[in-house]
Symmetry: C2
Subunit: 721 residues, 2 copies
Amino acid sequence: MNQPLFLYILLQLSFLIAPFNMSAQEDYKLWLQYKKVQDTKIATNYHSKINGIVALGNSETIQTAIKEIQLGLSGLIGHQITLQKNTNTENMLILGNQSSLDEAVLKNVKSEFDLINNEGYIIKTIQLKNKKHILITAKTDIGVLYGVFNFLKLLQTNQQIENLAITDSPRINIRMLNHWDNLDRTVERGYAGFSLWNWQKLPDFIDQRYIDYARANASIGINGTVINNVNANALILTPQYLEKVEALAKVFRPYGIKVYLTARFSAPIEIGGLKTADPFDAAVKNWWKEKAAEIYARIPDFGGFLVKANSEGQPGPQNYGRNHVDGANMLADAVAPFGGIVMWRAFVYSEHDVNDRAKQAYSEFVPYDGQFRNNVIVQVKNGAIDFQPREPFHPMFGAMPKTPLMMEFQITQEYLGFSTHLVYLPKLYQEVLESDTYSKGKGSTVAKIIDGTVDNHKISGIAGVANIGNDINWTGHPFAQANWYGFGRLAWNPYQDSETIAEDWLRMTFSNDEKFIKPVKEMMLESREAVVNYMTPLGLHHIMDTGHHYGPGPWVSNLSRPDWNPTYYHKADTKGIGFDRSKTGSNATAQYSPEVAKIFDDVANCPEKDLLWFHHISWDYKLKNGETLWNSLALKYQEGVNQVESMNTTWNKMEQYVDQVRFKEVQMLLNIQHKEAKWWRDACLLYFQQYSGKELPKSVEKPTQTLNYFKSLKFPFAPGN
Amino acid sequence: MNQPLFLYILLQLSFLIAPFNMSAQEDYKLWLQYKKVQDTKIATNYHSKINGIVALGNSETIQTAIKEIQLGLSGLIGHQITLQKNTNTENMLILGNQSSLDEAVLKNVKSEFDLINNEGYIIKTIQLKNKKHILITAKTDIGVLYGVFNFLKLLQTNQQIENLAITDSPRINIRMLNHWDNLDRTVERGYAGFSLWNWQKLPDFIDQRYIDYARANASIGINGTVINNVNANALILTPQYLEKVEALAKVFRPYGIKVYLTARFSAPIEIGGLKTADPFDAAVKNWWKEKAAEIYARIPDFGGFLVKANSEGQPGPQNYGRNHVDGANMLADAVAPFGGIVMWRAFVYSEHDVNDRAKQAYSEFVPYDGQFRNNVIVQVKNGAIDFQPREPFHPMFGAMPKTPLMMEFQITQEYLGFSTHLVYLPKLYQEVLESDTYSKGKGSTVAKIIDGTVDNHKISGIAGVANIGNDINWTGHPFAQANWYGFGRLAWNPYQDSETIAEDWLRMTFSNDEKFIKPVKEMMLESREAVVNYMTPLGLHHIMDTGHHYGPGPWVSNLSRPDWNPTYYHKADTKGIGFDRSKTGSNATAQYSPEVAKIFDDVANCPEKDLLWFHHISWDYKLKNGETLWNSLALKYQEGVNQVESMNTTWNKMEQYVDQVRFKEVQMLLNIQHKEAKWWRDACLLYFQQYSGKELPKSVEKPTQTLNYFKSLKFPFAPGN
């Protein structure tokens, strides 16, 4: 029986080509793959430098650190590194906090301890009795755990570990995720499946995912998590649910992660049986005090409350003629005795306020500066509108020197293509963090405002709205894991370069092969500008389709609130396009420091990337490239599409460096992104063309569908809505 | 620096004890673990008998078979078994359908081909030129794939593979899963997360899970899937969704799995723009014909429609004064030209019908016998009420000889503790399948009714309401995987013993170690009786709490429909308890064959396990054990609790045989089950005690809470509701 040879080969190939394991293992492991180091020279060297582990202390956190280092080393080096009782043999890896170290060890790191804070760590090669060892230490056990993860990172990224002398500390106190998770496990703006929290099986069933979630967060220094939606349900504060929250807090505790909850302002009515939630009402104050005591009895290290009040229909102090200060301080007093904090969101805009929505949060909150309790921190979105592909930094940053402001970034891609589009967000975060508010003169960057250095605040914080769900790969898109990772890295140190972070993530997640790193890193770094170009170039914003925000909807103009309509934001007409927020318009520019306002106000000096955010510009206006605004707009949309095309080209060359499952996932997703980038280009240009009345430049591809076709598209079950 | 030895040991242990990998890999792989055969003797023997693979044919299905055999063998044997061009060397594994075999091979299996049907397979050791080989063949490519999975099963269960001579064929044509999945990805009665189908990313993103779902189903012979909820949404029939369904059908096709959809009867109005959905209306008939043509243009092997009509608020032909025959036949005519079928559900009961709900489906459908088109099959739940822990077989089985009846089992545990309780359902399925309807005299078992042998039907079918969700382990409870597996095995052969199936599943999923198999198999086999005992002993039924059906609610009596109230079903009063369905009562017994009715009618002969299903019995009535009904009821509840306790004891001894993650998962879940079994016992006994007015027997533990406490429990976000 003879098979034609071609068939035989074809079958052999088919086995090579098709992904075929029942495994999404790599996907699940995130950046903690701990695969064996490929370069055998490096691997051997690592092994020779790490003969054993000497662990000091016995807290849950230290035990966690030991397990992690053993797990990591056994994977990376390929040998189980065992625990030793002492440092008699050389090349021990010594783990322990400051108090656990004896003099012989301590004198090696005296000066380093002055360089770190309570969560910082030291990784240093030391000599004991002429024997070299590597010491990982810190002032606290959690610092030791952070040191362990960062030591493992050195190996994961194939760096040398001779004569190590590393000290590092987080610049921001509160580094947290905000989960917009509902109790029915749907996730508002969630695109990676559904909530991780299986409320029905809690408290008695601890999903392995809870542990791995904590590991992943600890590995990047995240130390807090708000596990429920800011559009809150009071039931989370009932004993039935607090028992479940307590179980999660117990899982997260050894990893240095505090649990926080959102507080529904009307909870005293809904679950407390009171007639009012007025923050001045004695019974209400007392109810919150007792509720706080009840929570802390279960969770002694409970972090505190996050509150969305009088915003988008949520109840708040204004329902009772009180203001945000009254509400925030009342809750702050309830948690203060237990060391808790209140994070009060500044994301407010009123249907009764006819002013530019971009101005409202500033107008409402800035006058309150100095009136909040010292355990209140005001949480401000990075921009004045709502997590757009690009926004100028929020004018509140730098404007409330007496109030600690907490940054709220969005990791989930509500307005950036869900978990379908590859967009590397740390690039966006860095742009915001580096923006100069000039609040205390040049160099008063947003980073320095939120880490408290400009105004010397004791508490500082940064929150990322999580993109995590119960998809096997956690984030829906394999590359969306980089946004979770990158957020954590910037939360630890907001001065880091997003390029370094991208490279670390790629090495830890995929491969250390330069032929992979270089092109894929470039692809990531370009991805954010690409999405701006094919969705909202030149300062356009909020022209996504209604409700779900999936795809273009610049034509939407019929929503109950004017400031929910895309037409409110682009203001396209036959004269031109853009929102005049300059002196001649809403004068939102006046909310910035004079140095900044001056630049934004002046059409000629306003950065073109923000042009239509601040100005209504004639279609014929010439940009720096010499092209008219209309042509430039069209060319930007085309450029975005071209960028996604080249992302595809890059990725298609990477098959040999990536496991089949992830290679194909990314390939399929990039294809969809390319399709949808064209959809954005065609829909927006056809729509704006009605007003410009001009032809598309030659280098812009002609739309393949009519405007009516694009308007007709409906997505009744778009996720996250 | 010296560590106290105890601490050193403690730390070493902590690493052994705590599960600590970021992996739920085993969980995900289901019964297709393909782990290396532990017994080296057996492994060596397997390797010696399989030197290579000679694959004939080049269909997608054959390529799939090749990939699966290579994946399986490389795992089980630990060596990659390569493809060979011919059988010149001995011990080849030859794969190919009948037409691909040459004479030399064919003459070895001439007689076997007469023993199998189109989906059957042959696994036989043959001789070619004095060289031994193993042949896996069939009449069709899908038969070959089934043969491959069953050959792998031999290895997975460590059976010998000398002189093989196996022929096997499925006894039932249509072996399918029903997914009650909604387009928003919630799953009605789903307890394993949310829907697998990511509609937003379809059609262009093919989740690896879709492929692995198909592999798992093909491995047990499932050949159809209804991917959306019987409480249907017409949007699934729009081009926007059909394009996505087409993509799934393409993934499933090589695995022999046909896609079916539920048809919302009012679709012609909702998405067709018609004024009516009257099955006699020409425009309606035409709309369905064109819709069918549209679907088949995309999916040539589309299976057909599943319809829930005029049931629990779903629209149907009765809205237009027509009947079920009119509706079913109209749809049947639409799909007939393409070879499609219509599965019409018999799960109907009317709020306007004051008769015993258990009688209504029979009363309505039996008169229609013989009036349905020959491509209509009526889908009947295993019992007359609704997927209870135990029900007598549905009286419709055997009562409609001219109509093929399709069995509908529920795999998801709506009334059996969700995915939290370990209940091995094949035991329940077997009990139903072995029930004798006496429709054509003794031996007319339900199995013989549904496989068509009693009444010589051309089409036969069996459906299982899936327990599959996007949890990493697919089914929420690791042991719930056995219910998916077991359903498939019984769908292939409804005469199999559930004990054999449990043993195969345990060996494939966990271990071949007898010290594990024996006790855990016993635990599984006992689990179904345990849940009956602690929930609904002695024929009690439908006393679960309202809506979500989680936990006990025998007191519920205030629902809009009387036949939704638990009190309707148990009818407890001071005289006694139970639903009199005998001659003296609703006379539901008369719907069974006289031989069966006679037994159920007679209190003395009625099986005690069904006693309160058919009779209202005095609290003092003496059961065969000599105890009063009240005491027996209480003792049964206690027995259920004791059984779960011993399941815990058994499992706790199994740690050494199971990976840490799954061991702990099952351990935690069994603990919850034990808690909830007590909850059931205490709540039900306290409630019924109000009527019996009697003390609990000594051997029954005293309740630790009051009846009011149990009544006060609320589960606002219980899953699946």
